[in-house]
């Protein structure tokens, strides 16, 4: 529940940043973590990986960024509202692909019917790829929003 209600005005906690070592190593690692996340995402259909794993890796990148530079900085890159839109875009892509398949004359989620690639098999591959991107987006957004909610929680007396 909390994960979705991130737009509520919450008390801003004091900005905590890591040490110089933490910040320096994070600034090197974060881009590579994100890149690796994208790699896992794209190779989900053929190799090991997929939307779920990629989403978690991408979210881990942002969480490391928060640990090093503080919540304020991360929220500049990934505002709460954007996270929410991303979280709901994922399922929309998934269902949208299903409905697109109907529009192109197949059954629901019949990727083979989509006009992608040269053969139905290739169309299936790309169709699943697009769905994986949707899954990755949602998983990442939900992980980040859970993290935001915990980080922004008011102190419990």
């Amino acid at each position: 529940m909390k994960a979705i209600s991130v737009t509520e005005p919450v008390v801003e906690t004091r900005s905590v940043t890591g040490s110089i070592i933490c910040r320096t190593s994070a600034s090197i690692m974060v881009p590579f973590i994100l890149l690796w996340g994208l790699y896992v995402l794209i190779h989900g259909a053929l190799g090991p990986g997929g939307g779920f794993q990629a989403g978690v890796i991408l979210a881990a990148g942002f969480i490391l960024h928060t640990a090093a530079f503080g919540l304020k900085e991360t929220k500049k890159i990934l505002p709460v509202k954007l996270v929410m839109v991303m979280a709901s875009t994922g399922p929309l892509i998934y269902v949208g692909m299903g409905i697109l398949a109907i529009i192109f004359g197949g059954n629901f989620l019949e990727y083979g019917a989509l006009p992608l690639g040269h053969s139905p098999a290739e169309a299936s591959k790309y169709g699943i790829e697009i769905v994986e991107v949707g899954i990755g987006l949602t998983v990442m957004a939900i992980m980040v929003s859970i993290f935001y909610d915990i980080a922004l929680r008011k102190k419990v007396e």
């Binding site: 529940m1 979705i4 209600s5 737009t7 509520e8 509202k81 929410m84 839109v85 979280a87 709901s88 875009t89 994922g90 399922p91 929309l92 269902v95 949208g96 299903g98 409905i99 109907i102 197949g106 059954n107 629901f108 989620l109 019949e110 990727y111 083979g112 019917a113």
Partner: protein, 488 residues
Amino acid sequence: MITDHLSVLIIAVGLLGAFFTPIIGLIRKEMCSLWASFIILLQFLISIFLLYQVIIAGNISYWLGGWEPPWGIEYAVDLLNAFVLVIVAGICFSVSIYGRKSLGFEVPDKELPLYTLYILLTTGMLGIVVTGDIFNLYVFLEIGSLAAYALIAMGGRHSLTASFNYMIMGTVSASFILLGIGYLYVMTGTLNMADISALLPSLYGRPVILVAIALLVVGLSIKTALFPLHTWLPDAYTHAPSAVSAVLSGTFTKVGIYALIRVMFTVISPSYVIETVPVMSILSWVAAIGILAGSLLAIAQYDIKRMLAYSSVSQIGYIFLGIGMANKLAMTGGILHILSHSLMKVGLFMVAGAIIYRTGIRNIYQLKGMGKKMPYTMAAFVIGALSMIGIPPTIGFASKFYLAWGALGAGEWVFVVVILLSSLLTAVYFWRIFENAFFGVHEDIKKDEAPISMLLPILAFAVITVLLGLLASLPIGIIEQWVTGVLP
């Protein structure tokens, strides 16, 4: 043609609508409830069209992704599915109109998560009903349940505990259901309902099947709040926002009952659960105890929503009684009671919500003069209560009549006595409200009726309760046709 895809579109529209809600909410918060009503109206229209299609052209089978059934997921719609679909979608739609004011009052400033979850709950329930794949059924059951836990938790302070209790019970029940499905899968190697029922007969001697049936029955009984397993229900319904209690009482438990009927009579053959293993007669005796216990507990309550919740426990017993007796008449009565109890209980919960909206009163003994203050709302309450007691010409009378008739036909005199006794007990606990609301007030009380968007659904339910009571042959015809096809 788009009409070939309706059985999956009813789910796809819901999912699209649900996940579009936060985006709409970010632009304009007030639009969320309208959007939810619009999406659920679409689902309602699709469900009506599906029922029409099934009546005209016979059963519908839809292959997701174009994969043939034993391998792929199949959406199979027959008369029972379509009938329950219309009930669920119709009730969710009317309550979403009612909820605009009621939820706005009881759960202020939470439109985004609220309506997303509301559409997800509706979609989850419709998914349980529409699917022909037993694992898909479990997935939708979880979608619906998770949405229900969160919706209940929005009711304020006490609702958190209630929701947590429900979550524990619900998770236990979901584990039982999953284990039961797992055993069936291990034995047959398939998850398609029709395929399982074709493969099962050769395996009926095996103890694993017995374990699977036991797990499924107990799991679904917790979800439907059959008497000794009902403990989560009163707290959840009392503390949830009124509109949410209305939807849950009217549809969620009914969908669980639908799942039980589907598993027992379609997946596992009726002759096995009636004759070889007496699952059905055990269920009917438990239900008979539940009917009386629920009514007695309802008499002891003074909170109006809590009383209605215990009354739900008793009324769910009626449905189980009808299914448990498993003869054609009683079964028809039981399934008809799904419809009638949904109509009456949703109406009554909406009235309770309207009273809370206007006055904040929940205690029955403080309702003095409510008949003058909110005359139309209370009139609808009286009609719902009369239907609950089983007075003609309401739909409640029709279903109870069939139940009693079926019990007489089966020679189960105890059940006839239970039905009559419980009707009297129902009259007792509703009479307390009548007495307080309508009698013993002489001073002038200013009329202060509920707002029109709340009053309309309430009155609509009252009218439909009576109308369907007069035209009871319509639903009975559909149900009898299905029952005749299933029972030997």
